[in-house]
C-alpha cells in the first residue's frame, strides 16, 4: 500500500493513498460532521452532505464530501473555513427543517450555531419523522447483512427506506442492523416478551440458556447457520455467557 502525506487544517498526516478524507480526519481526532457514512459499508456516504470540506490541490479549490474523497499526495484539506461553515450551516438548516424531531440533527446543528430552520418544517407521519433518506440502512441490509430486505422506495421528498409494498418481508431476518446503523435513530425496533418487531414483522427471539435473556432472533440464527455452517448450539448462550 502506497503511503502519502496529506495536510488537514494545517497539520501533516500520513495515510494510505485513496483512503477517504473523513477516515484520515477521524483517525487523527479531527472533527468533521458526518451522518450517512460508515467505514464498514462500501456504498455508504455521499448522501447527507454535512461532511463538506475544502479540498485544495494543484492550485484549485473544490468543496467535496469528505466521506468519499480520496486522499492523494499534495492534498490540503480545510475543514473549518468561513465558507465551509456557511455551507455546513445551510445543509444543517435544511436537515433540521426535514426532521425537526431528531435529537441527533438538532445537536449537530446547534454545534454549528443553527437552532431554528427558516424553511417550512416537515412533520410528516411518525414512521419517517427522523429519517433523512440517506440510504445507509439499505446499504447495510444489502452489503453487510446480505438479505436485501429493504431498499429506498419512491423519489424526491417522499423517498424512504421500506420493505416491498410496506409488507413484512420474506427475507428479513430481524437482525436490526439497519436500526443500529441509522444515524438518526429513525427505524423502529420494539421488543417485548421475547418477540422483536421491526419492519412490520414479528420475530421470535432465542433465549440464552444461562441468563434467560432473549438476545437474537431465531431467523437470524437460521441465516447464520445456513450461510456459515456454524453449529447451532453456539447460539444457546448469549455473548456474555459463552
Amino acid at each position: 500500500m502506497e503511503k502519502i502525506s496529506v495536510i488537514i487544517d494545517g497539520k501533516v498526516f500520513e495515510a494510505e493513498k485513496d483512503t477517504c478524507v473523513l477516515e484520515v480526519a477521524r483517525r487523527n481526532g479531527i472533527y468533521i460532521p458526518s451522518l450517512c457514512y460508515h467505514g464498514e459499508v462500501p456504498s455508504s456516504g455521499g448522501s447527507c452532505r454535512v461532511c463538506l470540506v475544502e479540498a485544495h490541490q494543484g492550485g484549485r479549490m473544490r468543496l467535496v464530501t469528505a466521506c468519499n474523497y480520496p486522499v492523494r499526495q499534495g492534498l490540503e484539506v480545510k475543514t473549518d473555513t468561513p465558507l465551509v461553515q456557511r455551507i455546513r450551516r445551510g445543509i444543517l438548516e435544511l436537515l433540521l427543517a426535514r426532521v425537526p424531531n431528531s435529537e441527533v440533527i438538532r445537536e449537530m446543528a446547534a454545534k454549528e450555531g443553527v437552532t431554528e430552520a427558516r424553511f417550512r418544517k416537515d412533520e410528516g407521519e411518525s414512521e419517517r419523522y427522523k429519517c433523512i433518506a440517506c440510504g445507509l440502512c439499505t446499504h447495510v441490509c444489502a452489503e453487510v447483512v446480505g438479505v436485501h430486505a429493504i431498499a429506498m422506495v419512491g423519489r424526491g421528498a417522499d423517498k424512504k427506506p421500506a420493505t416491498p409494498y410496506d409488507k413484512p418481508s420474506d427475507v428479513c431476518i430481524g437482525c436490526g442492523a439497519c436500526a443500529y446503523a441509522c444515524p438518526t435513530g429513525a427505524i423502529q425496533l420494539k421488543e417485548k416478551d421475547g418477540i422483536r418487531r421491526i419492519w412490520h414483522k414479528d420475530f421470535e427471539m432465542v433465549r440464552c440458556s444461562v441468563c434467560g435473556v432473549p438476545y437474537i432472533p431465531k431467523a437470524q440464527v437460521d441465516w447464520i447457520v445456513k450461510r456459515t455452517g456454524k453449529d447451532r448450539s453456539f447460539f444457546d448462550r448469549c455473548p456474555d455467557h459463552r
Partner: protein
Amino acid sequence: MTQELSKFDRIIERYERSEESLLAILQDYQREFQYVPEEGMRRLSEVMGVPLSKLYAMATFYKALSLVPRGRHTIKVCTGTACHLKGAPQILETLERELRVKRNGTTEDGEFTLECVNCVGACAMAPVILVDEVYHGQNRPSKVMDIIKKQVGS
C-alpha cells in the same frame, strides 16, 4: 396461479437474464396489464434472482410505472397557468363528477384514469386535455365528455 405465472414468464422470456433487462420487463408489464402487478414482480425476482426490494425500488422510482391498476384510457387535464386561467378547474370538476372519480384515480369499470399535468406546451389551445396522448384544445365543461366519448368510441 400457473396460468397467471406463465403470462409473466412469457414476457420475461423475451429478454436476456441480466440486470439490464429488468426495466424493460417492468415496462412491458405496464403496457400489457396497465400496471405492474405484485405477482409479476415476485415472479421476476424469482426468475432473475434479483431481490424483490430492488425491483420495488425501481418500480416506485419511475413515473411511467404504476403499482395500481390503471384505466384502459388515460385522461390528462392540463392545470398549468394558462389552462388554469382558461377554466381548467371547471373541466376537472366536470370530469370528476361525470366519471365519478377523483384526480389520480381510476374509474370503477377500469375505463379511465384521470390525471392532472402542468402545461403540455399547447397554451394557445387552453384549456387543454389529453386523451391517450391525443390533444384536445379549447375545452368547455359542457363539451368535454362528448369529445372523450367520441375519441374512445363508447
